[in-house]
């Protein structure tokens, strides 16, 4: 399928969801749907670097928070329309993603992961010390009551987030099927061999980090208007990071479909569950699911579906056994990297 038809189908699905929510007459659906859409953007963005390229970013909350606080800062100065804020938030967090990548992506992936893990803490420190955006007390943002032609403001915000989700999925799909996607896959598989084949690994990693950071920042930009009261410690908490990672890994990282499945599933479950159980229990479940999946089903739901179909369509009973044996590489195959030959 080409990109344009894909985009049209996505938009049609989005329009149907939107129409359905309006028909229900319940604005709570928009509030819940907004969060699910937001997680689609975050998980898809995370997967562009994490899933395609194999570099783990723990700083989802950091990039998301950049978008949110750029909006707060601009709001204090002069309220701008949300689509514009989304663009600005995207640019700022893209720049920060590029900078962090430039400093740490030359090294092993673990260092990048650690740096992103610490990023949220530092950004929180910055915001806490920045009175203009409310400091540690937090910032109130008054959401306009209504906007034409949507009626209530939340409908308008839901639509923006849904368009962002469509955009994120389209970008992810484009990356996946392009030369860039092939290049990222070689980095994930074997960086040395990728370089030897002519793949400019550092540049591709930077591109992926920048795209991923930009999308996360864009997802954060409308957030202050959604939540009304923005606090540094909840904005920069681990919740976003753990959700983005869990959704991607539980859905499956090899294709854009995985994060979508993960985000819709986990996102909706959480929206349902917050009504009945506390948000802490909710997050505990996400954490447990994450650990469970990475141990038991490392290729996520997509991997399970794939396996099921392969199993069904295979006439040879032996086929699966061969797969399992081949999947476990000899432990000595890689040796100690960097050891003198």
């Amino acid at each position: 399928m080409r990109t344009i038809p894909f985009l049209i189908i996505c938009l049609a699905v989005g329009a149907a969801v939107f129409a359905g929510a309006i028909a229900s007459g319940n604005d709570y659906l928009f509030f819940a749907g907004y969060v699910v859409m937001q997680y689609i953007v975050l998980a898809t963005a995370w997967n562009i670097l994490g899933g395609y390229c194999g570099y783990v970013n723990f700083g989802t909350a950091g990039f998301f928070g950049i978008g949110a606080y750029v909006t707060v800062a601009i709001h204090q100065w002069h309220p701008l329309p949300i689509p514009l804020l989304v663009l600005i938030g995207g640019v700022v967090s893209a720049v920060i993603g590029y900078g962090m990548g430039y400093l740490t992506l030359r090294l092993r992936g673990a260092f990048f992961a650690i740096a992103t893990l610490a990023l949220a803490v530092v950004l929180e420190t910055l915001v806490v010390n920045w009175d203009y955006v409310g400091g540690s007390r937090g910032a109130y943002i008054v959401r306009p009551e209504a906007i034409a032609p949507f009626g209530s403001y939340i409908r308008y915000m839901f639509m923006i987030m849904m368009l962002l989700a469509v955009a994120a999925l389209t970008v992810a799909r484009l990356v996946e099927r392009s030369r860039l996607g092939y290049g990222l896959a070689t980095i994930r598989d074997d960086e040395l061999a990728a370089e030897a084949a002519g793949v400019p690994t550092l540049r591709l990693k930077l591109i992926a980090t920048t795209i991923s950071g930009a999308l996360m920042g864009m997802a954060g930009a409308p957030f202050p208007y959604y939540i009304g009261y923005l606090q540094p410690d909840s904005t920069f908490g681990f919740d976003y990071a753990v959700n983005a990672i869990a959704m991607s890994l539980i859905g499956g990282t090899t294709s854009w479909v995985g994060p979508l499945i993960g985000a819709v599933l986990l996102g909706s479950l959480q929206q349902l569950a917050t009504v009945t159980i506390s948000s802490a229990v909710n997050l505990l479940i996400v954490g447990l699911l994450l650990v469970f999946f990475v141990i038991v089903a490392p290729n996520g739901i997509l991997g399970l579906i794939h396996k099921y179909w392969q199993h069904k369509s295979d006439d040879f009973v032996g086929r699966r056994r061969v797969d399992l044996e081949a999947a476990a590489p000899a432990p000595a195959a890689d040796g100690a990297p960097g050891a003198p030959p």
Binding site: T186, A196, A339
Partner: protein, 243 residues
């Protein structure tokens, strides 16, 4: 013919261990060079320094008329310097087709040769056919035997359309006839104008292929010349019998 590759007093250390000590080596365009030495003599380290996988602390490498010190590995590949890895390093999530497609997309196209998708597909098939893997074009590397992985490794290096191909132990574990196949392939490449450096333990293969032989022992070059003469060199004999 001019020198395609020129290595001048190259040195590399790992901590206190001297892996390469003042190596000098010139390779003319079109040559068939054999590089031998006992295990741990620094052959792979030399390849890694030439190809940019490792940085040499000392000395310099010239390739095709320009100094390439400090260039990242992918730039060197694009200049025409391709290598296969001693332990095969396939892209495990990509099919064999896609494995050989990568150098076409990232090296050959970066030189300005744009081809349509179908032409690239054809080319991938041809490359796999040359190493006898065409039947497995859609398979994943994990379905290959060790021997087939070595062939894939070679096909991927060839896909980069290099001026100089460094084959790092491409034949370990292969049968007689497979070795003959690979040797014939390398000779054919060489006849098309590709310079080949063959690193190999299998002496019969080295002797039949090489027109010149270089011997490394403990990070030093101890011999460089016609294969028969080098093998008669008492120092080389000592190095091989002494281990």
């Amino acid at each position: 013919m001019s020198d395609l590759l020129e290595v001048a007093n190259l040195g590399k250390r790992f901590g206190g261990f001297v892996a390469l000590d003042n190596i000098a080596l010139s390779v003319r365009a079109g040559e068939r060079l054999g590089l031998i030495g006992p295990n741990g003599s620094g052959k792979s380290t030399l390849v890694n320094c030439i190809c940019g996988t490792l940085r040499n602390e000392q000395g310099s490498v010239r390739f095709d008329g320009r100094v390439i010190d400090g260039l990242p590995a992918h730039r060197r590949t694009r200049l025409g310097l391709a290598r296969s890895f001693q332990l095969p390093r396939p892209f495990v999530s990509l099919s064999l087709m896609d494995n050989v497609r990568i150098p076409l997309l990232y090296t050959v196209e970066a030189r300005g040769a744009h081809r349509a998708g179908a032409a690239i597909d054809d080319h991938c098939h041809r490359l796999l056919r040359e190493v006898g893997l065409e039947a497995k074009a859609r398979a994943l590397p994990r379905d290959l035997t060790q021997v087939e992985m070595r062939k894939l490794e070679l096909a991927r290096a060839m896909a980069a359309e290099p001026k100089l191909l460094i084959a790092d132990e491409a034949m370990a574990g292969l049968t007689h006839s497979e070795i003959e196949d690979i040797l014939a392939l390398l000779v054919r490449l060489n006849e098309q104008g590709v310079t080949v450096i063959l690193i190999e333990h299998i002496m019969r293969a080295v002797m039949s292929f090489s027109r010149r032989l270089v011997v490394l022992v403990s990070g030093r070059k101890i011999a460089d010349g016609l294969p028969e003469e080098v093998m008669r060199d008492p120092e080389v004999e000592r190095a091989y019998l002494g281990q």
